[in-house]
């Protein structure tokens, strides 16, 4: 029973840490499927987390915080879009630039506005997302097996957590069952064909980039309004890159993305749990190895040793209409 409770606890924290990864990886899915590579997920998420924390602290409203996060993230996406779609600059370079600009400015502005060493003021009450308790969660708590699963694992998360998991089938539906999704995928594989059909490649890619901005906004808002009570400098701590790794690991498919994010989240939760505790059969595993595992797995996958990850064909190439 002790073991069972440990498992439940690890799975619960798995869900908690996977949520920002799911949002960010789905964000990456939309742009990369449209042929715009984005290594600026990290920066957008960080910018959104800062905007959410700052606005929620000032207005005291969690909704305003979320909207600010989305606004800032979309604006950053549009910068990326302008550089890589309109100006046909390097998408990688633009993403790197955004990561740095955000990393620096969140600290500078946060310190100037709130003077708390780069933090935003701690949020409480309506300024922060509250957890949702399912009906009868308390009543069934003591039922063996089912009780902990229902009341600890499924119930008691933030509303954004459920939104993240619902977005997975929703993204699948958009990408695979709507006209917009079909065109979006087409523009990532063969933009010339889409252009020939009389559809604007530029506008389609801009819409994909805006979708990415909205989702990164959710990811950032989750970090500073739900997971923690306020923004802390550098709080994304590489999550944007892990999300990128998850996106590749999932071979650019929505359901796989959820599974990859849960796997990487599980490794993270396990690493925290195992700190100092030896693992049965294997013995002491260095924490650093656990932390590096998502990256190592992604490299191995990319090398084609576990299946093959084939990126969208036109990814990373700016579209030049024939002249």
């Amino acid at each position: 029973m002790e073991f069972f409770h440990t498992i439940i606890a690890i799975l619960e924290s798995t869900i908690r840490v996977s949520v920002p990864l799911i949002f960010a990886a789905l964000a990456g899915l939309f742009t990369e499927r449209a042929g715009v590579f984005d290594i600026g997920l990290e920066g957008k998420m960080l910018g959104a987390a800062f905007a959410a924390g700052a606005v929620a602290a000032v207005t005291g409203s969690v909704i305003m915080g979320l909207l600010a996060a989305i606004l800032i993230s979309v604006l950053l996406s549009l910068v990326h879009g302008y550089a890589s779609i309109t100006q046909r600059g390097s998408q990688i370079v633009s993403g790197v630039a955004i990561n740095f600009i955000v990393a620096g400015s969140t600290v500078i502005l946060g310190e100037a506005w709130f003077k708390q060493g780069g933090r935003t003021p701690a949020l409480a009450g309506d300024a922060r997302f509250q957890t949702v308790t399912f009906p009868f969660a308390d009543a069934v708590k003591d039922v063996p097996i089912f009780g902990p699963i229902y009341s600890n694992l499924l119930s008691g998360h933030f509303i954004l957590t459920y939104v993240a998991f619902l977005l997975v089938p929703f993204s699948w539906w958009i990408l695979y069952r709507t006209r917009f999704g079909l065109r979006l995928r087409a523009v990532g594989e063969n933009p010339g064909a889409v252009d020939t059909a009389g559809i604007s490649v530029i506008w389609l890619r801009y819409r994909a980039v805006i979708c990415c901005g909205i989702l990164c906004g959710f990811a950032g808002a989750y970090l500073s309004l739900a997971m923690s009570a306020g923004f802390v400098k550098g709080m994304t701590a590489g999550k944007g890159y892990i999300a990128l790794a998850a996106l590749i690991f999932a071979k650019w498919r929505p359901v796989n993305i959820m599974l990859a994010c849960l796997l990487f989240g599980f490794l993270d939760a396990l690493a925290i749990r195992l700190q100092g505790n030896p693992l049965p059969l294997i013995g002491q595993v260095p924490v650093q190895l656990m932390q590096a595992l998502p990256y190592i797995l992604t490299v191995i996958l990319l090398a084609g040793f576990i299946g093959k990850a084939i990126p969208p064909k036109a990814g990373g190439i700016p579209y030049v209409k024939e002249r």
Partner: protein, 377 residues
């Protein structure tokens, strides 16, 4: 790749456009300073004064510049072959192992000029090793070097935490770092070079590795523009299909270029480890690998451009510390913003002002042609 823009004279291509991009980047940075409620001009004054006001400050500026020359060259070499090495950060970090091993082994028995060459070979070898895998994976297994090098940065960081907390740390010490090196592991400072200009180096760690950086810059120039390998690299960078048609082994070039790039990044470790701290500490690279991206973009991947660009970033780092001291609202994170803006305007948006400048040149050209005609008539 086809270039849809009008051809500009060389000085405009390599001088004016980077300058315009840089000025725009600094103007936007100035806006951030305004947003914080400080005076941008005052900040600029403190920055320049803090970077060049005294011999000691200049020493620090050049110390930082040394680091950025190495990482800038590392990124630039890869650029020439059409590869984007974001992994200079991790390669420099791993390169530190080579420096530390050479120093820990011989610092008590040998003078610095014996340890230094070994450390050079060690750092370059470890850096090259860390770049070999991403290069090989791209060449043979088709995984993209951008993604793999990002992943390798994180793996390097975990690996180094492990090594410095478990393996390389002296017994009984708590801090995650190697022991302090004896005289053999300490590079001499360049006092004599500074005293030629009548400057006093003070406490600044400006050291011999600067000369190595200049040498490396020259070496890169020779490699890219004066060797067969460099020619093959540039061919591959401009047009992979024509390189293939010409019988240039793409896989071979990719691996070699990544190893050269990683080796140059690894050399960076000499400067902070043997030149300043005399031990290997956690996170000694401090983002220099990423600064290398900005330096390479600004220097247009040419050593003659990289050295001034590296000095400019050295100025930002040293002067930025001075701004943080004089104007507490502006911490050193301001440099990170400027770095990002330079990467954005000199890299991703490099063509933004090109059409306007091209038009200006075209109209000047027309006018002078007309003037010449009327004068002739």
């Amino acid at each position: 790749m086809s270039n849809p823009y009008a051809k500009l004279p060389g000085w405009a291509e390599y001088g004016l456009i980077p300058l315009v991009n840089l000025v725009v980047a600094f103007l936007v940075a100035g806006l951030v300073v305004l947003l914080v409620g400080e005076n941008p001009l005052e900040a600029a004054y403190h920055m320049i004064n803090g970077a060049f006001g005294r011999g000691e400050y200049i020493g620090f500026t050049l110390y930082y510049a040394t680091t950025f020359i190495f990482t800038g060259l590392s990124v630039a070499v890869a650029f020439h072959a059409g590869l984007f090495n974001i992994g200079s950060e991790g390669q420099a970090y791993i390169g530190g192992i080579g420096v530390a091993l050479a120093c820990l082994w011989l610092d008590k028995t040998m003078p610095w000029f014996v340890v230094f060459p070994l450390a050079i070979v060690g750092s370059a070898a470890f850096g090259a090793l860390w770049a070999f895998l991403p290069g090989w994976l791209q060449a043979k297994r088709g995984s993209h070097v951008v993604i793999t090098t990002i992943m390798f940065n994180f793996i390097a960081s975990s690996l180094m935490v492990y090594l410095l907390t478990r393996v390389l740390k002296p017994l009984g010490s708590m801090a995650p770092q190697t022991r302090t090196f004896e005289a053999g592991g300490q590079l001499p400072k360049l006092d004599w070079l500074m005293s030629i200009f009548g400057l006093d180096l003070g406490n600044s760690p400006f050291n011999v590795s600067f000369l190595l950086a200049i040498l490396a810059a020259f070496g890169v120039w020779v490699l890219i523009w004066r060797t067969k390998l460099g020619y093959e690299m540039r061919t591959m960078g401009h047009s992979p299909s024509s390189a293939r048609y010409a019988g240039i082994g793409e896989a071979r070039i990719t691996v070699i270029v990544m190893m050269i790039s990683g080796g140059l990044a690894g050399l960076m470790a000499l400067n902070p480890i043997m030149g300043e701290q005399y031990r290997m500490q956690l996170d000694f690279v401090q983002g220099a690998g990423f600064v290398g991206i900005a330096v390479a973009l600004m220097g247009r991947s040419h050593p003659a451009g990289i050295i001034p660009a590296a000095i400019l970033f050295g100025m930002l780092y040293q002067g930025g510390a001075e701004i943080a001291f004089e104007m507490p609202a502006i911490s050193r994170d301001m440099i990170v913003i400027i770095q990002g803006l330079v990467i954005l305007f000199a890299g991703a948006l490099e063509n933004m002002f090109r059409p306007a400048i091209g038009r200006a040149f075209a109209s000047i050209g027309r006018r002078s042609a007309v003037a010449a005609q009327t004068r002739g008539a």
